[in-house]
C-alpha cells in the first residue's frame, strides 16, 4: 500500500488561476445523466479482482488504512493507493479540479451524501446499476440508500450514516440539577437553567452552521428542497422549517447558546472542561469525542434527540458514500473494490472497530454492535441509542443540487440571525432568494 498525503493547495490568486486553467482544458462537459453501458456482471468483477491491477482511492475516513490492509489480504494482486483528502470540502475541490483537468482522477472517491448531486448532474459519476449494484439495496438503511439512488441511477454505495443524537455531559447536568431533555421545550428550559447557574457555561454552542441547521429542519419534518434533476423547488418557510425556526429563535434571542464555531480548538476545549454541556450531532460523534476530547472520558452520555411533540423523529447529519467517477481509468477493478469496501463483512467490521458508524442494516442490528459498552461513555450501550435513532429518520429529505455552494453563503444570510439576534425566518427567506437566483443562473428551473 502506498500513501500519498494530499499537500495543501496554496491559497490565493495563483490557485484560482490554476483551477481556472484546469477547468477550461476540459472544454464542454455537457450536463446530466451517467455515462454509457460499459457495465459488468458480478463474475466479471470477481475475475478482475483476481487478475489484479492498481487503483487509487481518495478518502478522508480514518478507517481507510485498516480497510485497505484487509482488502489487500483478500485480493493480493490488487494494489490500492490511498490518498488522504483531509475533509469533505477539500475533497470536493480536489475532485472537481481533477475531473476538469481530465487527469489524475481517482478510481474510487469518498463524497458526502449532500454533494452527490453536484457531481452527478454534470455526468461525472458512474451509474452503478451497470454493475448490478441495485441488487445491494436491501443491505442498507432506507435513508442512506435514498441518498445514493436518485435521478434514476445509483451513484455510490453508502459508507456510513449519521442519525442524530443528543450527546451530553452528565457531570454538568448533575451539578446544575437538570434532567436530559426529551422535548425541545425542555431543551430550552435546560439551556436557561445552565445559563442561570453559570453565565459562562452553555447547554450548546452554535454560531450558524448550515449542516446543523439543515439537519434540524429535517428533524422538524421540513422538506425545503425538492429536486428531480432539472426542476428544483425551494421552500424555506414550509411547516417543518418554520417549526424549527420558531423553536430555535429564543435560544438565539436570549443568548442561551454559546456563539462558538464547532471544530475549533476552543470548541474541543469547551467540550472537555464543561463550558459546553451538550452537542446534537451525527452518530459518528463518539469517535470524535474519544479522539478530540480525552478530558471528557467517563462524563459523556448519549440520549435520543429531543422531539417537538414526544413522537420520536430524527434526521441524518453528515455521512458519506464512495463513488466511481465517470472518468475513472480502471472502473471494473474500482467496482470490485467499492463493493468489497462497503458491503463485505471484513471491511465493515474493520470500519466499526475503529469507531465508524455503518450504514448496513445487518451490522446496525447485530448483537455485538448493539451490546457494545463504551468506556468513554461510562459503560453506556451507546449503539442501542444511536441505532434506534437510525430507524426514526424522517423520509423524503433532499439536499440542493448545489448544496456546497448554498452552505458557503449560509453565513451571509441565515448566519446574520446569530450575529444580530435577528429573525431566523427572515434569514432563511434571504437564503432562499439567493439560492433561487443562483440555481436559475446555473440552468435549473427553480420554484421558490
Amino acid at each position: 500500500m502506498t500513501i500519498t498525503r494530499n499537500r495543501r493547495v496554496a491559497l490565493g490568486a495563483m490557485a484560482a488561476l490554476l483551477a481556472a486553467s484546469l477547468t477550461a482544458c476540459s472544454g464542454d462537459d455537457g450536463g446530466g445523466g451517467g455515462g454509457g453501458g460499459e457495465g459488468a456482471s458480478a463474475e466479471e468483477i470477481e475475475a478482475a479482482l483476481e487478475e489484479g491491477g492498481s487503483i487509487t482511492y481518495w478518502t478522508w475516513t480514518p478507517q481507510a488504512e485498516k480497510q485497505i490492509e484487509e482488502f489487500e489480504k483478500a485480493y493480493p494482486n490488487v494494489d490500492v493507493t490511498l490518498v488522504d483528502t483531509v475533509g469533505a470540502g477539500e475533497g470536493n475541490t480536489k475532485l472537481q479540479n481533477a475531473i476538469a483537468a481530465g487527469d489524475g482522477v481517482p478510481d474510487v472517491v469518498q463524497i458526502e451524501y449532500q454533494s452527490i448531486p453536484q457531481f452527478q448532474l454534470q455526468g461525472q459519476l458512474t451509474d452503478l446499476t451497470e454493475y448490478g449494484f441495485d441488487e445491494l439495496e436491501s443491505l442498507y438503511t432506507a435513508s442512506t440508500w435514498g441518498s445514493v439512488s436518485q435521478n434514476g441511477g445509483i451513484w455510490g454505495l453508502p459508507q456510513d450514516s449519521g442519525p442524530m443524537a443528543f450527546f451530553y455531559n452528565q457531570e454538568v447536568f448533575d451539578e446544575v440539577g437538570v434532567e436530559v431533555p426529551t422535548t425541545w421545550d425542555e431543551y430550552i428550559e435546560v439551556a436557561r437553567a445552565i445559563k442561570e447557574d453559570n453565565p459562562d457555561r452553555c447547554l450548546a454552542n452554535d454560531s450558524g452552521d448550515p449542516g446543523f441547521t439543515t439537519s434540524m429542519i429535517w428533524q422538524a419534518g421540513g422538506t425545503p428542497f425538492q429536486n428531480d434533476g432539472e426542476a428544483v423547488t425551494i421552500d424555506l418557510a414550509d411547516e417543518g422549517t418554520t417549526r424549527f425556526a420558531e423553536m430555535y429563535q429564543p435560544l438565539i434571542d436570549d443568548e442561551l447558546i454559546c456563539q462558538l464555531p464547532g471544530w475549533s480548538d476552543e470548541w474541543y476545549q469547551a467540550l472537555g472542561d464543561g463550558t459546553i454541556a451538550s452537542v446534537a450531532l451525527g452518530a459518528w460523534m463518539p469517535g470524535i469525542l474519544e479522539d478530540g476530547v480525552p478530558d471528557g472520558k467517563g462524563k459523556w452520555r448519549v440520549a435520543p434527540m429531543p422531539t417537538y411533540d414526544g413522537t420520536p423523529t430524527n434526521a441524518e447529519n453528515g455521512g458519506s458514500t464512495e463513488s466511481i467517477p465517470e472518468a475513472a481509468e480502471n472502473k471494473l477493478l474500482a467496482a470490485g473494490f467499492l463493493k468489497w469496501l462497503n458491503s463485505s463483512d471484513e471491511s465493515i467490521q474493520a470500519f466499526m472497530e475503529t469507531g465508524g458508524f455503518p450504514a448496513t442494516v445487518e451490522h446496525l442490528e447485530s448483537e455485538e454492535f448493539l451490546g457494545y459498552e463504551s468506556e468513554y461513555f461510562g459503560g453506556q450501550k451507546i449503539n442501542e441509542v444511536l441505532g434506534a435513532g437510525a430507524a426514526d429518520v424522517n423520509e423524503g429529505w433532499q439536499y440542493l443540487p448545489w448544496q456546497s455552494y448554498a452552505n458557503s453563503i449560509f453565513a451571509d444570510t441565515v448566519g446574520q440571525a446569530w450575529l444580530d439576534k435577528s429573525s431566523l425566518l427572515e434569514g432563511l427567506a434571504a437564503w432562499q432568494e439567493e439560492n433561487v437566483s443562483y440555481g436559475s443562473g446555473q440552468g435549473f428551473t427553480v420554484n421558490g
Partner: protein, 285 residues
C-alpha cells in the same frame, strides 16, 4: 537590434510571456464563457461584464477595499515614515533593536499572524477579554460589524509597517552627510531638516510604497479569509473582491465569472496605481 541583443532579452521575454501575458490573455478568454451545472460551458460574449457592473456583491467588496485603502494605507505609511525618521535621526538609543523589532512582524507568515491576532481578539479567552475585564466594560470588541474592518486594518498595519519603514529608511540613507552638515551650518533645526531635506528625499520611495500598498489593499484576502473561519457571519463570502472570486471558483462553479471579476478589479487597481504614480512623479519634477 543585433543578435547578441536579442539573446540577452529573450530569456526575459519568454518568462514574461509565459508568466504575465499568458495568464492575462487566458483569463480574458475565460471571461467570455458561462459555466452552468445544467448545460456546461457555453460562449457568453460580454455578458459576464454586464453582470459584473451591476453586481452588488462585487461592488460591496470593492467599496470595502477602497475604504480600507483610504484609511489604512495613510496610517500605515505615516507610522512607517515616523519610524524611519526616528531611526534615521541618530537620537534613538538601541536603533538597530527598533529596526529589527519593527521589521519582525513582516517575517511572521501572514497566516500565523492572523491566527495570533484572531485569538487575541477573542473576548472570552483572548487579550481583548482580559482588557475588557480590567476596565469593566466592553472597551474594544473587534468581532462586531462595526469594528471588524478596523481589526483587519490593525493586523495588516502590524504586518507591514516594518517593511515600509525599511523602504523609507533606505531612501533616507542615500542622503549624503554633507547636505546635513551644510544645513547645520545654515542654522537649520531638526524639523527644518526633516521638512526640507529628508521628506523630499523619501518622496520617490513613498510613491513606490504607496503603490505597493494599493495593490495589497485591492488584493486583501488572507486576513479576512482566515478570520472567516472564526467569525463566519461577520465576514461574508464576498467580503473582498478576491474572496468573492475565490468562492465563485471553488464552490460556485463559476470560473468564468470569477475571471471577469479578477479582470475588472485588475483594471481598477491599475488605473488607481497609475494615477498615484503620475501625481507622485509630477511633484518630483
Amino acid at each position: 537590434m543585433s543578435a547578441a541583443g536579442w539573446s540577452f532579452v529573450t530569456p526575459f521575454l519568454v518568462v514574461f510571456a509565459l508568466m504575465i501575458i499568458t495568464p492575462l490573455v487566458y483569463s480574458m478568454y475565460l471571461s467570455l464563457f458561462r459555466n452552468q451545472l445544467m448545460g456546461g460551458t457555453t460562449f457568453a460574449g460580454f455578458a459576464n461584464y454586464v453582470t459584473a457592473f451591476s453586481d452588488p456583491k462585487l461592488w460591496d467588496g470593492a467599496g470595502r477595499v477602497g475604504l480600507f485603502l483610504l484609511v489604512q494605507v495613510p496610517i500605515m505609511l505615516g507610522l512607517a515614515l515616523i519610524a524611519a525618521l526616528a531611526i534615521d535621526s541618530g537620537r534613538l538609543h538601541g536603533k538597530s533593536f527598533f529596526r529589527v523589532a519593527l521589521f519582525l512582524p513582516y517575517a511572521v507568515p501572514g497566516v500565523v499572524a492572523v491566527l495570533m491576532w484572531g485569538f487575541m481578539y477573542d473576548d472570552r479567552l483572548g487579550l481583548t477579554g482580559s482588557l475588557n475585564d480590567l476596565v469593566g466594560f466592553a472597551l474594544v470588541d473587534p468581532y462586531t460589524k462595526k469594528w471588524i474592518l478596523t481589526a483587519i486594518g490593525n493586523i495588516v498595519t502590524w504586518e507591514f509597517v516594518g517593511y515600509n519603514m525599511l523602504i523609507l529608511y533606505s531612501a533616507l540613507k542615500t542622503v549624503p552627510n554633507e547636505i546635513y552638515e551644510a544645513a547645520a551650518i545654515d542654522g537649520a533645526n531638526q524639523f527644518r531638516i526633516v521638512r526640507s531635506i529628508k521628506l523630499p528625499a523619501v518622496r520617490g520611495a513613498l510613491v513606490i510604497a504607496t503603490i505597493f500598498s494599493i495593490l495589497g489593499s485591492f488584493q486583501l484576502f488572507n486576513e479576512p479569509n482566515i478570520l472567516k473561519e472564526i467569525q463566519p457571519a461577520l465576514i461574508s463570502s464576498y467580503y473582498t473582491p478576491n474572496i468573492y472570486a475565490y468562492n465563485l471558483t471553488f464552490v460556485g462553479n463559476q470560473v468564468s465569472y470569477a475571471a471577469t471579476v479578477a479582470i475588472v478589479m485588475g483594471l481598477i487597481t491599475a488605473v488607481i496605481a497609475y494615477v498615484v504614480q503620475l501625481r507622485g512623479t509630477r511633484r518630483d519634477a
